[in-house]
């Protein structure tokens, strides 16, 4: 380290010395990296906006509230897709977060270190299974399994609920939600486990010393300490669920409709873009699909914003 000269009368010399430490450079470079993300996303948004001029003029806001989808007559409405995207993502989260967090707690707190490492290693591998293979496995393995074992049990016990009524043909919102849940669980398990592991041991020991059970110390001390990271993993998982394309389109039924039952077929924004973009030959059809991308972007803004507000107010209420 450079030794400080005896006297530093000018601010210029002070400045040079500060720069020598590298701090401003590091600050600038990393700041530029962060800013470039804003630039890239802004550019993407611009492309989505510019590429959807025709339908925005033609339909305006009725695009978001309409339910028709007729490429021949050129009548388009996004509501069924918004519905499908939101419902599948929420149901997937409702399943994946408890299971994922439970597994993360087990792997971080209870399992012997080697077994935990090995299992986590393999679970992270699940994230590498290509989306299209998840789709195939969905059709060949998951849907028959749901048809024979899970759904009959569900309708027998909870069939009075409107969400579990109606005929189950296999491909459905429910099947798509289950596939999504499996796909996003690795993110939750992996990141949550790492964050839990990073919680200092003295936190646990303090809780135990005060007489809590193992579970109480985990749930009431360790998890809140790691909550920020865990929520980060949930956001990652949510984002993946919202944008997942291939696997969803193979098991959701691809029927643009709104339905009160999870067992009915549905459609999602990403799925319809993937299905129709390659063959869309009219200007209007292409631009409508781009506008759907814009709608999904807006949806993500809303959902992320709402989630953050909820967390902020929760944390604020705690204090």
């Amino acid at each position: 380290m450079a030794t400080t000269p005896a006297a530093l009368p000018d601010t210029r010399a002070k400045f040079i010395q500060r720069v020598r430490t590298g701090d401003p450079i590091a600050h600038t470079i990393t700041g530029m990296a962060a800013a470039s993300i804003l630039a890239i996303t802004g550019l993407l948004l611009y492309h989505l906006w510019a590429g959807s001029g025709l339908p925005r003029e033609t339909f305006g806001w009725s695009f978001v509230t309409g339910s028709a989808w007729d490429p021949v007559a050129e009548k388009f409405g996004a509501l069924p897709f918004i519905f499908g995207t939101v419902v599948t993502s929420i149901v997937a989260l409702l399943v994946a977060v408890p299971v994922g967090l439970g597994a993360a707690i087990f792997l971080a707190e209870l399992a012997p270190r080697r077994a935990s490492d090995a299992l986590t290693f393999m679970i992270e591998l699940l994230a590498a299974v290509p989306s299209v293979i998840y789709g195939l496995l969905g059709i060949f393995l998951l849907v028959p399994f749901l048809q024979t074992s899970v759904v009959p049990a569900l309708t027998a016990t909870l069939g009075f609920l409107p969400i579990f009524q109606g005929q189950f043909l296999g491909v459905s919102i429910f099947s798509a939600s289950m596939v999504l849940a499996i796909m996003i669980v690795p993110f939750i398990v992996s990141v949550s486990r790492e964050v839990l592991l990073a919680v200092p041991q003295d936190q646990r020991e303090a809780a135990l010393a005060l007489g809590s059970t193992r579970w109480e110390s985990t749930w009431k001390v360790v998890v809140p300490y790691a909550l920020r990271g865990i929520l980060g993993s949930v956001f990652l998982a949510l984002a993946r669920a919202l944008g997942e394309t291939m696997a969803v389109t193979m098991v959701i039924g691809n029927k643009p409709q709104l339905s009160s039952s999870l067992l009915a077929p549905g459609y999602s924004i990403a799925a319809v873009i993937a299905n129709e973009f390659a063959e869309a030959s009219s200007q209007m059809h292409q631009q409508v699909l781009v506008e759907l991308g814009l709608v999904l972007f807006a949806l993500t803004v809303l959902i992320n914003g709402a989630a953050r507000l909820m967390i902020y107010s929760y944390k604020g209420a705690e204090k």
Partner: protein, 344 residues
């Protein structure tokens, strides 16, 4: 520190290795994109052609007719391929974008068949045009509907409800079927109409031909439609369609070629052959086309394309039946050979 340097060196070496191309004569590379239906025969052709002309690599990717039309208009590929002819609008857009015209060259014929899943019935069911339209419109709801029973007196059709399966993705296969239905059913023409992606009155959507076949296989009492090849390869039953001459015809390469032969060909080759009038013609047949710009700047590429087209119309055609594609009828072949001269 040394570790970093070592890693750097390894990385640089890998980059150099990956960047070096073939050191001998640079191959002539062309790219094409478009319909997925003819992809098996196109890849076979380009592979065989490369064996004859070692330095010519024609890379074809099947990503959909729409992508083919779009990218050939953008100029990001050398040629396109489509299961449906370009509309006048699209041809005009091409002229504006590339300041040249675009030519259609039919390559092979395909057929779309209704396929179904009925327990205990592996026979080929007969479908009249009205019956098929009624099923896909959702008007005919049960398998033992009089329209189906009268066409199949020897088969015991169940009283189960029909589950309709259609394509969720835009596709040439859907275009051919809806083109046919629009011709034979005024109600269909006024309603869903013809298109690669339409608003289906009833049914579930499967992605791709295998998606439809998969759903049909898994869903009892279902009916879907798919390319003849998929039905054959997956051992699915294929229904017989009643053609304009009143006969129930099975889809085969021969009956498809007969459909093509019985329809007069236009000069620009953009013709639909569904509901053809020939006696043995299969009514849901269609051409598939290569889309070639009529002005090609690069002289070397132009020579390759012209030569390939001539080869395709000659030895290439004989490779089609082995892959269950139907070859073009003779009069069409001759017209095309002449049309090649329009490429400048």
């Amino acid at each position: 520190m040394t570790k970093t340097i070592r890693n750097f060196a390894a990385g640089a070496a890998m980059l150099a290795l990956a960047a070096c191309g073939s050191s001998e004569q640079a191959p002539q590379r062309l790219t094409g994109i478009g319909a997925t239906f003819p992809e098996p025969i196109y890849t076979k052709w380009f592979s065989e052609y490369q064996k004859l002309h070692n330095e010519i690599q024609i890379n074809y990717q099947g990503q959909g007719s729409g992508a083919g039309i779009r990218q050939v208009t953008d100029g990001t590929v050398d040629f396109g391929a489509s299961d449906q002819p370009m509309t006048d609008e699209q041809i005009a857009a091409f002229k504006t974008a590339r300041s040249s015209g675009i030519l259609h060259f039919p390559t092979v014929l395909g057929a779309v068949v209704p396929t179904y899943n009925l327990a205990g019935i592996s026979a080929e069911l007969n479908f009249t045009p009205a019956a098929l339209a009624g099923i896909f419109l959702g008007k005919i709801k049960k398998w033992n509907d009089p329209a189906l029973v009268s066409a199949n007196p020897d088969v015991k059709l169940p009283s189960a409800e029909i589950v309709v399966i259609h394509r969720s993705d835009g596709s040439g296969t859907s275009f051919v079927l809806t083109d046919y239905l629009s011709k034979v059913s005024p109600e269909w023409a006024a309603g869903p109409g013809r298109g690669a992606a339409i608003s289906w009155p009833v049914g579930l959507g499967g992605k791709g031909n295998p998606g439809v076949v998969g759903l049909v296989k898994q869903t009892p009492n279902s009916i879907g439609y798919t390319e003849m090849i998929f039905a054959i390869q997956n051992s699915m039953p294929a229904g017989r369609m009643q053609n304009a001459a009143g006969k129930f015809i099975k889809a085969t390469p021969e009956s498809a070629t007969e459909a093509a032969a019985s329809v007069p060909m236009t000069a620009d080759f953009r013709v639909s052959i569904t509901n053809a009038s020939g006696d043995g013609a299969y009514p849901i047949s269609s051409f598939t086309w290569l889309l070639i710009p009529d002005k090609i700047q690069d002289a070397a590429k132009r020579t390759v394309i012209v030569d390939f087209l001539k080869w395709m119309l000659g030895p290439g055609q004989s490779m089609a039946p082995a892959l269950q594609f139907a070859a073009l009828p003779a009069p069409v072949l001759e017209k095309e050979l002449q049309a090649i001269n329009n490429i400048q």
